[in-house]
Symmetry: C2
Subunit: 101 residues, 2 copies
DNA sequence: TTAACGTATAGTGATTAGATTATATGAAGT
DNA sequence: ACTTCATATAATCTAATCACTATACGTTAA
């Protein structure tokens, strides 16, 4: 195995770790779960549905975005967030299935 | 929805979060990856294959065990660790697939 | 029982993530 | 330009996690 492969392997691991760390938080996991059932949601959708302060929702969304879990596009006054990868849906159902059998 | 349902929902979320947090670490993720390709491994297998101190391997294995990612059974001098849920294999391939397309 | 091997735990300081609240920015309508 | 609504950032303090290393425990065989 060459050096360049080793480097990209640790990079992949780091990216995976960042993603997992981002999701590994009660609020953020629930946000991701919400987004597996909704194509996209804006900050106030989440802050209302989850019963948390707007600033809290915005902060957690930022963390999920920074770590490659969500993407964000602004339309007028609203910022719409959605899953960055379709596989994240599968990931969520894997985790959920670990605690229902 | 009844109170008992709400409670078990947060419990499930917490358990999922603990699992994800445990996996969300470079060494621990690699240990789990090793265990998706090997039915079971002992501490010294891991400490040798990963090139880390025995104590480090043991500590990280303990964290994975405590958080429901691995199980452990002792046979003589050796402790053998394995995945606690088969779905963890799928979880790992989901994460990996997020960074190869 | 002691020696050798495999594994587990404990202690430390440094770094990072946590919750909470106040404030700042950005867009749209009047 | 000013107001309102939607979103984002900053600041603080507390708590958890980190890496690292020394040491303790458990098992087996002589």
């Amino acid at each position: 195995m060459e050096v360049v492969d080793v480097e990209s392997k640790t990079e992949k691991i780091d990216k995976a770790v960042y993603m997992l760390k981002a999701i590994a938080h009660p609020l953020r996991l629930q946000i991701v779960e919400l987004l597996t059932g909704n194509e996209e949601l804006c900050v106030s959708d989440i802050h209302q549905q989850m019963g948390v302060e707007q600033a809290v929702a915005s902060q957690q969304l930022k963390i999920l975005k920074q770590n490659g879990v969500l993407t964000c596009k602004r339309k007028g006054k609203h910022s719409f967030y959605q899953l960055a990868h379709p596989q994240i849906k599968d990931l969520i159902s894997c985790i959920e299935s670990c605690h229902s059998c």
